[in-house]
């Protein structure tokens, strides 16, 4: 059977016959229409090949046996039955203002601080929010941020997403504690499609941590995530993605941030797990005074393959964006960073920066860095820098002269190198959690 035919079958199972579909009957008509449309786009779009510039270093046809995947299905699980790995990760978290737990693409629990709910904050399963007729869901889901037309996987997600998160913070409401999404994938060989839609109204504030975990799998297991982030005038939004899947995990994400006038929309992507991680992040600076700090941290070993494709679109004048992605590569890991700053015609007074730094720790690791600039305005300050290098010999020497063994010294230097990224977004619990995860990885090295 051809791949398309299998996927056609899959979509029927997803919105036709299976349990997902039975629930789908309760979905609003606009949503089903949008899914159908997305499916048409998916079918009409070829699988990205390494001949295309943006996928040059990630051969998705080779890394992901799309036609062998089963859609992840299954009814709601009970919180008591949460897998041990997920519970451990959740126990590490500090106090939260709210939390959604998602297992195999299904929301299994939603908690939100009552005081916040009383102020009009909405934290919900995305599907429930669509059914409840939330106007923002209908107007913003897969329209402005990650529409199906964004590419093969954006289309597939828009057609097949099973559930996800809707978070809405009304004007002027400040959510001081972090809201979390804790995700777990349990079944090997499955494909999970999740969407996150976050709207921060004017002068509001929120921080959101999206963590995904899984056990090791013997076969490729796909998680595809579409993240849509809106910060209205003067709002402050922080989004953190912690990708800590086990072996076999293939994590593909399309993230887009839309920052309006005087708002701040910061992101942090941490990639530690999985076999393949590919994140397409597009930050759009839509209003004067908008600001996006874009942080990234990746640490690959064995055969891990991480590919980050970022873009900073300066549409409005006098906006600011600053990107820092740092990676350490061990074993036969491969790290790819491709970033572009686009200063569009008329975006005068733009300040945009982009830095990618890589540490190569082994003979077989490979690092590729493509920091690009496209500038169509003249009154701008833009710069980018990229480096690839090995551990700083002087730093190692210094630490060893203080009595540390070589491995200890190396660990410390790697932690310090990656730690710079974390220190720029000191969000409750994230720094400790990521630091511990890196330390655990370093122990195996």
């Amino acid at each position: 059977m051809t791949q398309t035919a299998v996927m056609r079958e899959d979509v029927r199972r997803a919105i036709g016959r299976t349990a997902v579909l039975e629930e789908g009957a309760a979905d609003p008509g606009w949503l089903n229409a949008r899914r159908e449309e997305a499916w048409d786009i998916y079918e009409a779009t070829p699988l990205p090949s390494t001949r295309s510039e943006e996928w040059r270093y990630t051969d998705v046809a080779r890394l992901l046996p799309l036609d062998e995947l089963e859609p992840a299905a299954g009814g709601p699980a009970r919180v008591a039955a949460l897998p041990e790995g997920l519970r451990r990760a959740m126990a590490q978290d500090r106090e939260s203002a709210g939390r959604i737990v998602d297992v195999d693409g299904r929301v299994v629990s939603v908690e939100l601080d009552e005081a916040l709910a009383a102020q009009g904050v909405v934290l919900s399963s995305l599907r429930e929010a669509a059914r409840a007729g939330m106007p923002e869901v209908e107007s913003l889901l897969a329209t402005e941020a990650v529409p199906a037309s964004d590419g093969k996987f954006a289309a597939l997600n828009a057609a097949l997403w099973s559930d996800g998160v809707f978070l809405y913070v009304p004007r002027g409401v400040r959510v001081d504690r972090t809201i979390r999404l804790s995700r777990w994938i349990s079944r090997p060989g499955t494909a999970t499609f999740t969407r996150i839609l976050i709207v921060a109204e004017e002068l509001s504030r929120l921080s959101f941590v999206d963590e995904i975990l899984s056990p090791d799998f013997s076969s490729a297991t796909l998680v595809n995530t579409a993240v849509e982030l809106f910060s209205r005038g003067g709002a402050q939004v922080q989004y953190v993605s912690l990708q800590r899947m086990g072996e076999g995990g293939v994590y593909l994400a399309n993230q887009r941030t839309l920052a309006e006038r005087d708002s701040t929309l910061d992101t942090l992507n941490v990639a530690l797990g999985g076999s393949v991680g590919r994140v397409d992040l597009n930050a759009r600076l839509l209003g004067p005074g908008a600001n996006s700090d874009m942080l990234g941290l990746y640490f690959g070993d064995s055969n891990q393959h991480f590919d980050f494709n970022t873009s900073q679109d300066h549409v409005a004048p006098n906006a600011h964006s600053d990107l820092l992605y740092k990676g350490a590569l061990d074993g036969a890991a491969r790290g790819i960073f491709r970033g572009i700053i686009r200063v569009h015609d008329g975006a005068q007074g733009t300040d945009a920066y982009q830095t990618n730094r890589n540490l190569i720790l082994s003979d077989e690791a490979i690092s590729t860095s493509l920091p690009n600039l496209e500038i169509e305005a003249d009154d701008v300050r833009c710069s980018h820098g990229a480096t690839v290098g090995q551990l700083d010999a002087e730093a190692l020497f210094y630490l060893m002269s203080r009595g540390l063994r070589r491995e200890q010294a190396e660990r410390l230097v790697v932690l310090g190198f990656l730690g710079e990224v974390l220190s720029k977004l000191p969000l409750g619990g994230v720094v400790e959690k990521v630091t511990q995860a890196i330390e655990a990885k370093l122990r195996y090295v």
């Binding site: 082994s362 493509l370 300050r381 980018h384 690839v388 090995q390």
Partner: protein, 471 residues
């Protein structure tokens, strides 16, 4: 903000070499390209059979390869190529002395202002007029040293073994579409051989121009620098302004043998309707040192990325690139350094200026293969934007397969600062002078590497354009 007049006056756009000398070519092929045209070129040059076969094979590769979809806008190129004369031969014979060069051709050179000094002081002058070397002399002492500085055609005739051993080895026809095209229809260019240990104090110069309207120029240069030799080759190009688009696609192959030093300087000032798609590559052997100094001021679209393949231990490659993109121009330039051997080092410095609707793009590659231990590379790109409509891009590729490599890339983009202008004007300069000074300061790190007459010409060009801008 500087006033509009100042901005208007800053450009290097007015093409001062826009005149046409009336010279009838002795022979030219019909416009367009097919096997017959290639056979004609080869027959006309009285080439050996192997070269004709190479040309025909290259033609098939050219026809099979798709147009590049990246870089500049090549959408109108097919049409331009169908109108292009792929070969034109202005004179039957090679001239040995300046006095024998026909008066009208001489006039062209005079009006271009090839410095008197260039003829008298500089040793080898290969002036290329249309497709063929028409004037070529070599200082006697160099001949005695065994240096070969010939037209590429004579290189093939007089040194067949040396030629065949190296031709097409650095840039095979299948390398890219335009290298294939050049390999099929090449005509003119230089053949240079520096014997081992020979050191040349004065540069070898080839100054050539495309004169015939719609004439494609496919110069081919092959340079072999022997072990421990040292030399500098300078190429400059100028073309008169025509209404139809012209096309230039050169291939420059250089072999820098062990411990040799070679520098290749190009100042490209083609007229603004010229497509300039060039492949330049050097193989750099153990301990050798290669420098590309690449200036791109003219043309409608230039796509050119001089490269150094660092094949031997301790080889060093350097690329200095300067680009100026005025109204309607796109300079898509940069450089490539490929580290194959241990302890190889490289550096790329690129400076670009975009004015009016001009667009300057840096496109580069730094590749370090596994095993090129302790390779080091550094890339710096700076872009200066003059107008709101100007555009600049940076597309560096950094591919590292080696743990012990150290690679850095940095780029900045800025405009001429109001503060800088204000400071200089407060010291008594007018706006145009101040602007010119800032632009000159920006390109200075590269201009200072140029031979004196080129540096003077570059600076004079900027000054000339500034003068008229006041009032």
């Amino acid at each position: 903000m500087p006033s509009n007049e100042v901005i208007q006056g800053l450009g290097l756009d007015d093409y001062k070499f826009g005149f046409v000398t009336d010279s009838e070519p002795v022979f030219k092929t019909r416009p367009g390209l097919d096997e017959e045209v290639v056979r004609q070129i080869s027959a006309r040059k009285d080439e050996p059979e192997w070269m004709l076969k190479r040309r025909l094979k290259a033609l098939r590769i050219y026809q099979a390869k798709p147009m590049p979809q990246w870089g500049g806008d090549l959408s109108e190129l097919e049409e331009t190529l169908s109108r292009t004369y792929f070969y034109s031969k202005p004179q039957e014979q090679m001239e040995r002395s300046w006095d024998d060069v026909p008066e009208n051709i001489k006039q062209t050179f005079e009006r271009l202002g090839i410095p008197e000094a260039e003829r008298k002081i500089l040793a080898g002058v290969g002036a290329q007029y249309d497709s063929e070397m028409v004037y070529h002399s070599l200082k006697e002492e160099w001949e005695s040293k065994g240096v070969i500085f010939d037209s590429i055609e004579d290189g093939l005739k007089n040194h067949p073994e040396l030629f065949r051993k190296h031709f097409g080895t650095v840039i095979p026809a299948a390398d890219n579409k335009f290298a294939a095209l050049n390999s099929a229809v090449w005509s003119g260019g230089s053949f240079v051989y520096i014997p081992p240990g020979v050191q040349l104090e004065t540069p070898l110069q080839a100054y050539f121009r495309v004169n015939q309207e719609r004439l494609g120029q496919f110069e081919r240069t092959l340079i072999i620098a022997g072990e421990g030799s040292r030399a500098h080759y300078i190429e400059g190009c100028t073309a008169p302004v025509y209404s139809t688009d012209s096309f230039h696609s050169g291939v420059i192959e250089i072999v820098v043998n062990r411990d040799a030093y070679f520098r290749y300087t190009t100042i490209q000032n083609w007229s603004n309707n010229m497509y300039n798609l060039v492949t330049q590559r050097a193989l750099v052997q153990q301990g050798a040192h290669m420098e590309w100094l690449d200036g791109n001021l003219g043309s409608k679209l230039t796509m050119k990325y001089p490269s150094c393949y660092l094949m031997g231990e301790g080889a060093h490659g350097e690329i200095l690139s300067i680009a100026y993109a005025g109204d309607g121009q796109h300079q898509d330039t940069g450089g490539k350094v490929i580290h194959v051997a241990p302890r190889t080092t490289s550096s790329i410095v690129s400076k670009s200026i975009s004015k009016g609707t001009g667009r300057a793009s840096y496109r580069g590659l730094c590749k370090v293969y596994d095993g090129a231990s302790n390779a080091r590379s550094n890339v710096e790109c700076d872009a200066l934007l003059i107008n709101e409509t100007s555009r600049t891009d940076t597309f560096p590729y950094i591919e590292i397969d080696e743990k012990s490599a150290t690679v850095g890339h940095e780029a900045t983009v800025s405009k001429v600062g109001d503060e800088q202008l204000f400071y200089l004007m407060s010291r008594g300069m007018d706006e145009a002078e101040a602007m010119a000074l800032i632009v000159r300061g920006f390109i200075e790190p590269i201009a200072k590497e140029l031979p004196l007459e080129y540096a003077v010409e570059l600076n004079r060009l900027i000054e000339l354009e500034m003068e008229g801008s006041v009032g």
